[in-house]
Amino acid sequence: MQVILLRRTMGFVLTLIAVSVIVFAVMNVLPGDPAITILGIDSTEDARAALRAELGLDRPVWLRYLDWVWHAAQGDFGTSYFFRVPVTELITERLPLTLSLALAGMTVTVVVGITLGMIAAARHGTFGDWAIMLFSQMGIAVPAFWLSILLVLLFAVGLRWLPPGGFPGWDEPLLAARSLILPTTALALVQSAVLARVTRSSALEVMRLDFVRTARATGLSRWRVLRRHILPNALVPIVTIVGMQVAAVVTGTIVIENVFYLPGLGRLIFQSIANRDLFTVQALVVLFAAIVVTANFLVDIAYVLIDPRLKGRMT
């Protein structure tokens, strides 16, 4: 177990380094100059040069990268070119919103996806199964972006039940929660559709196994057989997909926050790329990558917790 943990930690660090190198390179290869973005196109070349020197942009790329790594390792992600405040501050301000959105999205995905999938499997071949699969087929086919607009048109513009976008801040928890309902729905609908499919097919496969027959022969109720015998054995593919969905949901917040005008990290990364705000982009990409890698690590731990047969084999 310690060996796994050590290997995992190394993989984690290597992934983050690779991701940061790529972002650094891409941001430098792309045309455009932060100095122009900040000062405007009618600024003088002297003023731009002065700003570049101030920002340290006149030094070679590799040196700037090493400098960044050195400070990042100490928790200092630099100062945003554009906002002129520490990147860490920018992120900590916006993190709660994005985290809430992602957590709510994952929770809805897991609850709705697994429930619908199990119901479809239990009602295999009936109208209920058919209806759930139709819903899930539609959910998979619809892009989250388009779905968001539909939701806004229906529930905000048409029915006026919910706000079309924006975020009132955390001082009003109820209003804050209300403004997250549509974004969460838009984020989770597609993912729960995917998860429902995976759950259904995995459960159908498990249902044919002998121990399910034993459970039925023991006189257990249908619901109990489903929940205590079929679902746990169907979990491995489900957990695999859920791990991938964490990545999808975290990156999905970028689109969703922009559609719904939510001041979170997704919107920040969007603005920062447009403003060529290297340090902010860099820190955000590393943060997103860290979340995804951590999710994958948790999935691997989950496998062993689910299936005792794997314990001996994982080294």
């Binding site: 039925r216 022969a217 023991t218 054995n233 005792p308």
Partner: protein, 317 residues
């Protein structure tokens, strides 16, 4: 204990079981033999209300005084484990791989008998003891893949016995096991049936195992019971040509060939839908009569508690 009348199971138009009559008294041990596809498992499953969804069943079943004819799934659930229990062929596959075996056996005790955790646990240890599982406390916490084949089957037997059923149906419980382990399991089943006054339906390919386990034997062919009677009577004077074929084709019983599979009779079992409407054995029978293929032979007594269904019986030949 069990009274089954004219049980017929159909898949579409094909009949997997045809007109099965069966009675079982408390403590009686009935062996069922027959080639693969003869309907042994279907018969077992029909007594549990566990036929595949595609199957249609007709006929009457009474179990321990309760009429189960056309019973709903909920009524079947109420008697499973508590009146009729069943164990299956492949003990590893038959156990939930993710649960400790002790928890698996505890489940019906908690669900059906409302035992507390501690009471259920104590009862499981007792059952493990009763079914000859060494070191029950340690085994309780093990997963199926950590046990041997024989131990797994003992766990499944403990599970089946948890709610003290009146009837235990064992569908080829020893086929997947080593010969000496198989012997111990069959002896265990006999002992348990005797001690508990529990009826046992022992389904097997293995004539020797049936002879060792059962008092009575039913020979199945093509979804029918073609001959039935006390084990020694059927084996020493078989009346149905199919039974005779089975016995002729195999070495003398008790000559050490304990794991003998059913021997080969010329020809193979036809597909279910190609079976003759008359005697199921016609076409493969060496002593067939002209009307065998079209007329169904009735079951006739050929000795004390011994009957067979063949047109040859009682006919002047």
């Amino acid at each position: 204990m069990i009274e089954a009348n004219d049980i017929t199971v159909r898949f579409g138009t094909a009949e997997a079981l045809r007109g099965i009559n069966l009675t079982l008294s408390p403590g009686q041990r009935l062996g069922i033999v027959g080639e693969s596809g003869s309907g042994k498992s279907m018969l077992g499953l029909s007594l549990m209300g566990m036929l595949p969804d595609a199957a249609g069943m007709s006929g009457q079943i009474r179990i321990d005084g309760t009429d189960m004819t056309g019973a709903k799934i909920a009524s079947w659930r109420a008697i499973r484990a508590r009146k009729v229990a069943m164990i299956f062929q492949e003990p590893l596959a038959a156990l939930n791989p993710l649960r400790r075996v002790g928890n698996t056996v505890m489940e019906p005790l908690r669900q059906h008998l409302g035992h507390s955790k501690d009471a259920a646990r104590a009862r499981v240890l007792q059952l493990f003891e009763e079914t000859g599982i060494q070191d029950p406390v340690a085994k309780f916490r093990q997963f199926p893949h950590e046990l041997s084949g024989g131990q797994r089957q003992r766990v499944l037997i403990s599970l089946a016995l948890a709610c003290n059923p009146k009837v235990l149906i064992a569908d080829e419980p020893t086929t997947a096991l080593d010969a000496h382990v198989a012997l111990r399991i069959t002896d265990l089943l006999v002992r348990l049936a005797e001690e508990r006054g529990m009826a046992l339906v022992f389904i097997s390919h293995d004539l020797a195992a049936v002879a060792r386990t059962a008092q009575d034997i039913a020979v199945m062919y093509g979804g029918e019971i073609v001959e039935r009677g006390p084990v020694h009577a059927v084996l020493s004077s078989p009346h149905h040509p199919y039974t005779q074929g089975l016995l002729l084709a195999r070495p003398a019983l008790g000559a050490g060939h304990l794991r003998e599979r059913l021997p080969v009779i010329p020809g193979t079992v036809p597909a279910m839908r190609d079976l003759a409407v008359g005697c199921r054995f016609s076409g493969r029978c060496a002593v067939e009569l002209p009307h065998c293929a079209t007329e169904r032979p009735a079951s006739r007594p050929v000795g004390a508690h011994h009957d067979a269904a063949c047109h040859r019986i009682g006919a002047a030949t």
